[in-house]
C-alpha cells in the first residue's frame, strides 16, 4: 500500500497531464451515459415534472405501435448496408489491386475517394431531391426511354421508400472501405500468391478460397462498424422521409428523436436509447466471439 501511494505521488505530473482527458470524458461522455439509464426510469417531460415510473417506459416501448416495424426496417437496412458496404468495396478493391500499373492503382484509389468531400447532408439532399424527386434523375430517365409509367414518388410510396433509402450511394464505391480492403489485400504476403500459383489456382477461384479468408479481419471490422452505424444512424431518415410513409421507413433512432424533441417525452426516449445500446452491445460481443479473424487463421495454419 505504501509504495502504491508513493508511486501515485511520484507520477502526479502524469496524472496532471491526463486531467483534461479525464475531465472531458467524465463530463461529456460518462455523465450522459449514466443519465441515459437513470432518466429512462422516469416519465420526464421537459419543462414539466419528473415522475418515477421504474421500468414502465420499457414496457410501453415493447407495446409501441412502431416497435415491430422499426426493428424490421432496421434489420433489413442492416443486411443491405453490410452487403453493400462489404461486397462492393471488396470487389472494387480487388479490381484495382489486379491492375498492373502502380500509377493507375493510385489514381483509382483517389478517384473513389472523391465523393467523400461532399458533406453527408448534401449527399442525402441531392439524392432525395435531385435523384428521387418527382422530376428527378430516375423519373426523367424512365420518361426518356419511354417507361414513364414507372415514374413515381420513390420516397413517398409505401413499397418503395425503404429500398430507395437503402439504395442511396448506388455503386457504393465511395468511402474509405475500398482503401481498407485494398490495404488488406496488399497485406497478403507474396508467398501465399506464389504458393497458389504453383498449385494452379488462379482467377475467381483463388479469390474466394485464398484472398477472402485473409482479409477476414478487415471484413470483420467493417461489418461491425457498419452495423453500429446503421443501428444508431437516423440522419438519412430524418432528412429524407421522416420515417414515412406511415411507418415504412421508421427506425428506432428516429422514433427516439421524435419522442424526445417533438413529443417531449425525455424518459421514454432514453428508454429507447438504452434498448438500442443493448442491441449494439450484443451484436459486438457476438461478432468478436464468433468470427475468427485472419490472424487466428494464420496462427492455426
Amino acid at each position: 500500500m505504501r509504495d502504491k501511494l508513493q508511486a501515485i505521488v511520484r507520477n502526479l505530473g502524469l496524472y496532471a497531464i491526463l486531467s483534461p482527458t479525464f475531465l472531458l470524458l467524465a463530463v461529456f461522455c460518462f455523465v450522459p451515459f449514466v443519465w441515459a439509464f437513470t432518466t429512462s426510469l422516469y416519465d420526464y417531460e421537459i419543462g414539466g415534472d419528473r415522475v418515477f415510473v421504474g421500468l414502465a417506459n420499457y414496457g410501453e416501448y415493447l407495446g409501441d405501435p412502431t416497435f415491430w416495424s422499426s426493428f424490421r426496417n432496421l434489420f433489413l437496412l442492416t443486411l443491405v448496408s453490410v452487403a453493400t458496404g462489404v461486397v462492393f468495396p471488396l470487389g472494387i478493391a480487388k479490381l484495382i489491386f489486379s491492375l498492373s500499373g502502380e500509377h493507375a492503382r493510385y489514381l483509382y484509389r483517389v478517384v473513389f475517394l472523391v465523393p467523400i468531400v461532399v458533406p453527408g447532408v448534401a449527399t442525402l439532399m441531392i439524392w432525395g431531391g435531385m435523384v428521387y424527386g418527382d422530376n428527378g434523375l430516375v423519373n426523367e430517365l424512365l420518361r426518356l426511354v419511354g417507361l414513364g409509367d414507372w415514374a413515381r414518388g420513390w420516397l413517398a410510396g409505401p413499397d418503395t421508400a425503404l429500398w430507395a433509402v437503402a439504395m442511396i450511394g448506388f455503386p457504393f464505391a465511395s468511402g474509405i472501405n475500398i482503401l481498407i480492403f485494398y490495404a488488406g489485400l496488399a497485406g497478403i504476403p507474396e508467398s501465399v500468391h506464389e504458393a497458389a500459383w504453383l498449385d494452379g489456382a488462379s482467377g475467381v477461384g483463388k479469390f474466394f478460397l485464398i484472398d477472402l479468408p485473409l482479409v477476414l479481419s478487415q471484413i470483420k471490422l467493417l461489418v461491425i462498424l457498419t452495423i453500429i452505424g446503421v443501428v444508431q444512424g437516423f440522419q438519412g431518415m430524418f432528412i429524407l422521409t421522416r420515417g414515412g410513409p406511415g411507418f415504412r421507413t421508421m427506425v428506432p433512432g428516429l422514433w427516439m428523436y421524435f419522442n424526445a424533441f417533438s413529443f417531449q417525452r425525455m424518459g421514454y426516449a432514453c428508454a429507447i436509447g438504452v434498448v438500442l445500446f443493448l442491441l449494439i452491445l450484443v451484436l459486438t460481443v457476438l461478432n468478436l466471439k464468433y468470427f475468427k479473424s485472419s490472424e487466428d487463421l494464420q496462427a492455426a495454419l
Binding site: G47, P65, D134, R152, L155, R265
Partner: protein, 523 residues
C-alpha cells in the same frame, strides 16, 4: 523545399480568406435575412433591450414566393418604434419551420420574444410557463391612440373580426396571442378549363364529384392538394358535415367567452368523454363514413400526395383545381407568366341524398387567424417574472405599436396573402372573396389541434398509408382507435382533466339524443 503544391496551397488559403471575409454590407450590420442595414454596433450597444421577433411571412429581406421585391415593411415599423423607445433595438429573425426546434428553444429559454405560432399548439404547453397571457393588456387602453379612435377604450377594439379574435382564447380562458391577420382556404380553379368543358362552380357534393370525374376523363388532375392540407382541412370539413347535427346532444360545455365564434366547438376533454361513450370508434357509423368519403374522393387527387409540387401542377395547367389558402394569391396574382384566368370557390356541402348523416348545411371554415403573435418566456428573462419585467413592457409595447392601422397596413398589404384584422385597414381586392368565406361558421373541432403531437404524427402517417392503399379500412380504423385511446389517456394525465362535470352534462342531454339516429353504443 517549396513545391508547386505548396504555392497552390498559399493561393488557396489567400482566396479562402478573401471569400470568407464578410462583405461591406454585412459588416455594417446587415446582410443576414431580417437584419437592418443602418444599425451599427455602437448603436446596438447603447440600447440595452434587444428584442427578437420572428414574423414568419413578413420577414424583411425575403421575397415570398419569389415574386416582387424584398420585403421592408417591418423594417420601417421597427425604426419608428426605436425612435419612440431609445433604449430598445428590434431584430427580425427567421426560424425553421420544424416544430421540435421551437419546443427545444422554448425549453431552454432561447426562443425569440415574439413568435408566430398556431395558438392551439400553445395551448398544449401553457402549464409550463412558456407563454405570457395577454388579457391584462388587451383589456386596457392602447397607449398610442388618440381618444376617439378604436383602441382608446380597450386594445381589443382595434381588431376587425372580433368573434374570431376572441375565439382564440385557450380552454383555460386566457388569450395567449393576438391575431394580426386572417387567412382562409379555398379551391382555386382554372376558369379557362372549366369554360372549355362547360363546368360551373358546384352547389353540392355529388355535383362536385361529377365535375371532377369529367375533368379526369378530359386528362387533367381534377384536384391538386398536398397531404398535409387534406389531413387537416379535409378531415375537419367532412367531420363537421357529418357531426354538426349531433351538437345539441354532444356539446358538453358551453363557454360564454368563446361562444360568439366557437359555439358548439368540441375541446379535448369533450372528445375524451365522447370517445369513452363510443364515438370515433369502429362502432360509430359517422366515423366510418368520414373515412370512406375521403377515400372515395382521393381518386381525383394527384397521384403523389407527399412530394409533388401542387402549385407547379396548377400553374402548368396539369391540375384543374388547387386546394390552397389565400397565401397562394400572392403568387397567382403577381406571377406575370400565368396564362389563364382563375377563380375561387369553397367546397360544397354534403346533402342527405349522398350520405344519411349529412344535412346539407354550409361547409364550415377551418382557417381564421393566420399570423398569431405570441409572447414567449424570453420576454421576461430579465427578471424571470412577468410582473416585474421591464423588458416585457417593451415587448408588449412593440406588439401594440404593430397593431396601429398606419403600421399594420404597410406590413400586411406588402404581400397579397392575408386579410388584415385591424379596423381601418382594407385588404387587396383579389382577397375579398375570402372575406366572404370568413363569415361562415367555424368547424366543430380541429383534430390536429386537439391532442398532442404524438397523436398527430401517428394519425397523419396512417392516413397517408390508408389513402395510398398501404393498409385497408379495417386496419386503419383499428389504428385510429388505438391512437385515440393512447392520446386520450395521455391528455387526461397531462392536463389533469376532470371529466365529472362533463359526465353530468352528458346525462342531462340524454333526452336531446333520444331522437338522433346512428349513435354508437358505449363499450
Amino acid at each position: 523545399m517549396i513545391k508547386p503544391k505548396h504555392i497552390l496551397l498559399v493561393i488557396i488559403l489567400g482566396l479562402s480568406a478573401w471569400a470568407l471575409w464578410p462583405s461591406a454590407e454585412e459588416r455594417a450590420g446587415g446582410g443576414r435575412l431580417g437584419d437592418r442595414p443602418k444599425a451599427s454596433e455602437a448603436d446596438k450597444a447603447r440600447r440595452p433591450y434587444h428584442l427578437r421577433v420572428a414574423p414568419a411571412l413578413y420577414l424583411p429581406g425575403t421575397m415570398p414566393n419569389n415574386v416582387g421585391k424584398p420585403l421592408e415593411g417591418l423594417t420601417h415599423v421597427a425604426e419608428k418604434f426605436e425612435a419612440l423607445f431609445p433604449d430598445t433595438y428590434v431584430e427580425f429573425v427567421g426560424v425553421p419551420a420544424v416544430r421540435e426546434w421551437l419546443v427545444t428553444q422554448l425549453a431552454a429559454g432561447l426562443a425569440p420574444d415574439i413568435i408566430n405560432v398556431n395558438v392551439e399548439d400553445v395551448w398544449q404547453d401553457v402549464q409550463k410557463g412558456w407563454y405570457v397571457p395577454l388579457d391584462p393588456y388587451l383589456n386596457r387602453p392602447l397607449p398610442f391612440v388618440k381618444p376617439a379612435e378604436p383602441g382608446s377604450r380597450q386594445w381589443w377594439d382595434v381588431f376587425k373580426y372580433q368573434a374570431i379574435t376572441r375565439g382564440k382564447a385557450a380552454p383555460d380562458g386566457l388569450s395567449y396571442c393576438i391575431s394580426f391577420d386572417m387567412v382562409e382556404t379555398g379551391i382555386f380553379y382554372n376558369k379557362d378549363i372549366f369554360e372549355r368543358l362547360g363546368l360551373g362552380e358546384p352547389k353540392g357534393w355529388p355535383e362536385f364529384l361529377a365535375l371532377q370525374k369529367r375533368l379526369k376523363e378530359a386528362g387533367y388532375i381534377p384536384l391538386v392538394v398536398p397531404l398535409g392540407s387534406i389531413a387537416d382541412w379535409g378531415v375537419d370539413l367532412v367531420f363537421d358535415q357529418l357531426y354538426k347535427s349531433l351538437r345539441p346532444g354532444i356539446d358538453l360545455r358551453t363557454d360564454p367567452q368563446r361562444a360568439a365564434y366557437l359555439e358548439g366547438y368540441l375541446d379535448w376533454d369533450e372528445i375524451c368523454l365522447l370517445h369513452q361513450k363510443g364515438f370515433f370508434t369502429r362502432r360509430d357509423p359517422r366515423w366510418v363514413d368520414l373515412w370512406r368519403i375521403l377515400k372515395e374522393w382521393r381518386q381525383y387527387w394527384n397521384k403523389d400526395l407527399s412530394s409533388a409540387d401542387p402549385m407547379r401542377l396548377f400553374v402548368t395547367q396539369k391540375g384543374a383545381m388547387f386546394w390552397t389558402a389565400s397565401w397562394s394569391v400572392n403568387q397567382l396574382a403577381r406571377d406575370p407568366d400565368i396564362a389563364f384566368k382563375w377563380g375561387v370557390f369553397y367546397p360544397p356541402p354534403i346533402p342527405a341524398s349522398f350520405n344519411p348523416y349529412g344535412d346539407g348545411h354550409t361547409m364550415c371554415v377551418i382557417g381564421g387567424s393566420c399570423t398569431q403573435l405570441t409572447v414567449t418566456n424570453t420576454a421576461f428573462s430579465d427578471t424571470g417574472r412577468p410582473e416585474t419585467s421591464q423588458r416585457l413592457k417593451r415587448v408588449i409595447a412593440f406588439l401594440q405599436f404593430l397593431t396601429l392601422p398606419e403600421n399594420a397596413e404597410p406590413v400586411i398589404n406588402e404581400v397579397k396573402a392575408f386579410l388584415p384584422n385591424i379596423v381601418g385597414v382594407e385588404p387587396h381586392k383579389e382577397l375579398l372573396v375570402f372575406d366572404e368565406i370568413l363569415r361562415r361558421p367555424y368547424t366543430t373541432t380541429k383534430w390536429s389541434y386537439t391532442f398532442d403531437l404524438r397523436f398527430n404524427e401517428i394519425f397523419q402517417r396512417m392516413f397517408d398509408l390508408y389513402l395510398n392503399g398501404g393498409i385497408g379500412e379495417e386496419e386503419y380504423l383499428e389504428w385510429t382507435e388505438k391512437n385515440l385511446d393512447a392520446a386520450a389517456r395521455a391528455i387526461l394525465v397531462r392536463k389533469k382533466l376532470d371529466l365529472a362535470p362533463l359526465e353530468r352534462r352528458w346525462e342531462e342531454l340524454a333526452p336531446a339524443r333520444r331522437e338522433m339516429k346512428g349513435l354508437p353504443d358505449a363499450r
